[in-house]
């Protein structure tokens, strides 16, 4: 079997493309490559319109199957190729985009998907939403990014160890900044782009010590779903008098200063506290990435919707207990055995890539006090119930094994591709 793969962000471009449109599809493709290579010959494509069909015709001439796995949202999948094209995409809202907004018929995903005739996505939630739009027999399969096996060498104990990271990039420790300089009125009276951050936060190599109970959330600050304000406010309220509690926000965006003043404003508005919030926007080397994982006690998510959530999957696969809602794709792996569940319920929202931001779908509203209470319960368990914590950690590993291990994903992906191959023969 020949598998042509494509996504718009080239592998080497990733560090300065973080946060740009579709950048995260590169991370997903990276996770799939080892599995795809087990299934057939993988050829990475740079320019689909030019490269895909010649390879496809050559394969057919040899009597070999050939599929084009396009790791892109349906509206950006090249159409009109002879090669069977399978979009591999993430989606986290209850309504699939079903309007040709911006004058582009391809923004109606139903039309694109019915033309290509099959799709792969990353959760049973998204499968259900695709079938709600395209009919219950539409060939779509849930194949999460198979990262569980890779994380097993990084398995660390439930509790965190004291670690020291060295990093370039942006590092802000709320205890070392005069937060009042970032009050709402200060930000409003400043000219855009003129809010200065202390040089110690932006220049040179910074040392970050992690100890105590560390709650880590890895996210793109430009992504409105991630709900960072609520995370900060709930953390500050829940553990206001706990000097050994740390909220670590690991930001992934090529514009390192993006939202840093706004995040500091939120910490300020939460009022005085003993704990600390650390913002880090730096591309971590593998060693430091592993240290960050080791230094983490809990993996945190408070988003309005998830298509799978790679950072949460990684941390749980490595044995970190989660604080997360059980909605959208996370419903596949978050339960009370492996996570402190945050309550949520639907509210009206917009498709994230719709320039109109028109209300067309629901998303999930996170219940604030439920998040506060999850922080407190997690902190208590980490401090006082090590055996519960260890059991939850094992459950996290097991939950991710069922969700995104090679073994589980391989059989589903293979069945899906074989089904498509048979259908073409028929």
């Amino acid at each position: 079997m020949n598998l042509l793969v494509y996504t718009s962000t080239a592998d080497g471009d990733l560090p300065h493309r973080l946060g740009a449109p579709e950048y995260s599809y590169r991370f997903v493709l990276r996770e799939f490559l080892p599995l795809l290579r087990q299934l057939g010959t993988v050829i990475e494509i740079a320019r689909p319109e030019l490269e895909v069909d010649p390879i496809y015709h050559a394969c057919r001439a040899r009597g070999e199957d050939c599929f084009f796995l396009c790791f892109m949202p349906p509206n950006k999948v090249p159409l009109g190729l002879a090669c069977p094209t399978i979009p591999v995409f993430a989606w986290e809202y209850d309504t699939l985009p079903d309007e040709p907004f911006n004058g582009k018929p391809r923004n109606d995903w139903r039309r694109v998907l019915s033309l290509v005739g099959a799709a792969l996505t990353h959760s049973s939630y998204t499968v259900e939403r695709v079938r709600a739009a395209l009919g219950s027999t539409f060939p779509v399969t849930s194949v999460p990014a198979p990262l569980w096996d890779r994380m097993q060498s990084l398995r660390s104990p439930a509790s965190s160890e004291r670690v020291v990271l060295n990093t370039e990039g942006l590092v802000i420790d709320s205890r070392k900044v005069d937060l009042a300089r970032y009050s709402k009125s200060a930000l409003q009276s400043a000219q855009p782009g003129e809010v200065e951050l202390p040089a110690a936060c932006t220049d040179g190599i910074k040392q970050v010590t992690l100890e105590g109970t560390v709650f880590t959330s890895v996210f793109n600050p430009g992504d409105g779903r991630k709900n960072w304000r609520l995370m900060i406010l709930a953390f500050c309220e829940a553990l206001r008098d706990r000097p050994d509690a740390t909220l670590l926000l690991k930001l992934t965006h090529h514009d390192r200063l993006l939202l840093a003043p706004e995040i500091l404003e939120t910490i300020y508005r939460a009022g005085p506290m003993a704990g600390r919030v650390v913002l880090m926007n730096a591309y971590l080397a593998q060693h430091d990435y592993e240290l960050l994982l080791k230094g983490t006690t809990f993996a945190l998510n408070a988003s309005h919707g998830e298509g799978q959530c790679l950072p949460l999957m990684e941390y749980m696969s490595a044995g970190k207990v989660a604080i997360a809602p059980r909605h959208t794709s996370m419903a596949d792996y978050i339960d009370e055995n492996c996570a402190f569940i945050v309550d949520s319920s639907p509210e009206l929202g917009a498709w994230p890539h719709d320039p109109r931001q028109a209300f067309r779908t629901t998303r999930q509203r996170i219940h604030y006090q439920s998040l506060v209470s999850a922080f407190r319960c997690a902190y208590y368990v980490a401090r006082h119930e090590p055996e519960v914590h260890a059991a939850m950690s094992r459950a996290a590993v097991e939950s991710q094994r069922r969700y995104c291990s090679m073994e589980v994903v391989r059989s589903r992906l293979l069945a899906s591709l074989e089904g498509l191959a048979e259908r073409r023969v028929a």
């Binding site: 159409l79 079903d98 907004f101 582009k104 009125s185 639907p346």
Partner: protein
């Protein structure tokens, strides 16, 4: 006994003060005064300093005299030679006591404990507020929860849903924006520069399989379009249908609304963020995107009505297309117009994140109009599933003091369960259209519940208890008549 009453806003300037921070205190003064008249002489003060002299005169003849200050505690006059009782509304679970706000530094009254220690007692409008005060002042502080009395006695015994299937005549003098005359088009929000790299090929429209659109607004399926029926109704002289408008609100006019269907009304000041009109608009328009006979009337007050209008336009544009109808009515409504609005209303809607009382909600309920509302903060005193579709809510989302620097969270309000609000719209619509007898029963219960809660008799008894006055004796009647005729309180 002599009751001096004072509020910073009075009859003379109320028309201009609608929607300002303290304007509802004028309504409190007006409505409490009517009940106080039954307990003694009422004198309205323009200047609180007058209290000292009047109190001295009363003392000289052995008459009791007390000042009811219809002001928030931090605006309560304290340096008077007259016992003073602050009567105030408050919608948060704690009271200001730790002065972190720059703008509060110069006035010790911003620590409300200071005020309450000086006045020695207070009247709040809800149990929720009494609890908040006792958290700071201790469980024995003399504070009572006495709601604003509903003095206009609604003569209602079980309403029927009005307007289902026929138009309700309703004319208001106001600036009226009608979602059907605003040219709403969500595609107008796309700027020419918006391009996210989505592919486009000239053949796309032909090549891509066409499915039936899920949510295109269908051509009329027999629903009567209210806006289209204008020619069938004879407008009175000087009346007009809602004018087309877009970026700017239409000028005030005598506007014929004639809603047809299930009418939801909310009276609110959108710029008070706690009123949460985002949830109100999104849940209504989403619930009724296919129902032309669902109408939401927003009676809007505020200091920046232009901004309110533009926000409304943005919300509605992003929500369009929808078949239901949203009418925003801006301007001060005289009592008879307000009553006409009530008559046209099927359900009152409140989606606030916190309330100190919500007088409009109480008034509408009292007139037999069931509600959609959460049962949190002050509304916990009277909202229940017998009289309302109760919206789920969750306490404890942080927010700033409403009258402080707005820099730091010091209190909290509620989160609403949007889905529960959406479902309440659907269920209430079904009741109004399919089960009018259940609606009528709910209407009757709403009227009765509110009479028990804050009818003039109920409030009078609570005031007597709080002031430790002897309860009703027959001999009092003559004095009541005399004091009513004294005419000290404006109508």
């Amino acid at each position: 006994m002599k009751f001096l009453v004072y509020a910073q806003v009075d009859q003379g300037n109320i028309g201009k003060k609608l929607g300002t921070a303290d304007y509802s205190y004028f309504f409190l003064l007006r409505t409490f005064s009517e009940v106080l008249q039954e307990l003694g002489d009422v004198v309205q003060l323009r200047d609180p300093q007058e209290a000292t002299a009047i109190h001295a005169q009363c003392a000289a003849v052995g008459e009791q005299c007390v000042l009811f200050s219809f002001t928030p505690p931090h605006k309560t006059p304290l340096e008077l030679g007259c016992p003073t009782i602050p009567v105030f509304a408050w919608e948060y679970p704690n009271i200001p006591e730790d002065i972190r706000e720059e703008s509060w530094r110069d006035d010790p009254r911003h620590d409300w404990r200071y005020v309450f220690h000086r006045t020695g007692s207070a009247i709040a409008l809800s149990t929720h507020t009494v609890d908040a005060v006792k958290k700071s002042m201790g469980p024995h502080f003399p504070i009572a929860a006495i709601p604003a009395p509903l003095t206009r006695r609604a003569m209602l015994t079980g309403r029927r849903p009005v307007g289902i299937g026929h138009q309700v005549p309703l004319t208001l003098v106001a600036s009226v924006a009608d979602s059907r005359s605003m040219g709403l088009d969500s595609d107008s929000l796309v700027a020419a520069t918006d391009d996210d790299g989505t592919h486009f090929h000239p053949d796309d429209a032909e090549r891509l399989p066409l499915l039936l659109p899920v949510r295109a607004v269908a051509v009329s399926d027999g629903d009567v379009q209210v806006g289209d029926s204008g020619e069938e109704v004879l407008l009175a002289e000087g009346e007009q249908w809602p004018l087309p408008c877009s970026w700017d609100p239409p000028p005030p006019a005598r506007v014929r609304l004639d809603p047809q269907g299930v009418v939801y009304t909310s009276v609110l000041t959108p710029e008070a963020g706690r009123k949460n009109w985002g949830d109100l608009l999104t849940a209504f328009c989403w619930a009724f995107r296919d129902n032309a006979d669902a109408i939401l009337i927003l009676k809007i007050a505020g200091t920046d009505l232009l901004r309110c209008h533009r926000e409304l336009l943005m919300w509605l544009t992003k929500l369009s297309p929808f078949k239901c109808r949203v009418l925003s009515v801006s301007g001060f409504l005289p009592d008879e117009d307000y009553a006409a609005l009530q008559d046209a209303t099927t359900f009152y809607v409140n989606t606030s994140l916190c309330e100190g009382l919500c007088l409009p909600l109480v008034e509408f309920l009292g007139s037999g109009i069931p509600a959609i509302a959460p049962d949190h903060t002050a509304m916990a005193d009277y909202i229940n599933s017998d009289i309302a579709f109760v919206v789920r809510s969750f306490p404890g989302e942080p927010t700033v003091w409403p009258h402080g620097d707005m820099q730091m969270d010091s209190t909290s309000f509620q989160q609403l369960d949007w889905q529960s609000l959406h479902d309440a719209f659907r269920r209430s619509y079904e009741m109004a259209t399919l089960a009018p007898e259940r609606y009528a029963a709910m209407s009757l219960r709403a009227h009765e519940t509110i009479q028990d809660y804050c009818g003039p008799g109920a409030v009078k008894r609570q005031l007597q208890r709080f002031l430790e006055l002897p309860s009703e004796a027959h001999g009092n009647d003559a004095r009541q008549v005399a004091s009513c005729e004294s005419g000290a309180v404006e109508p």
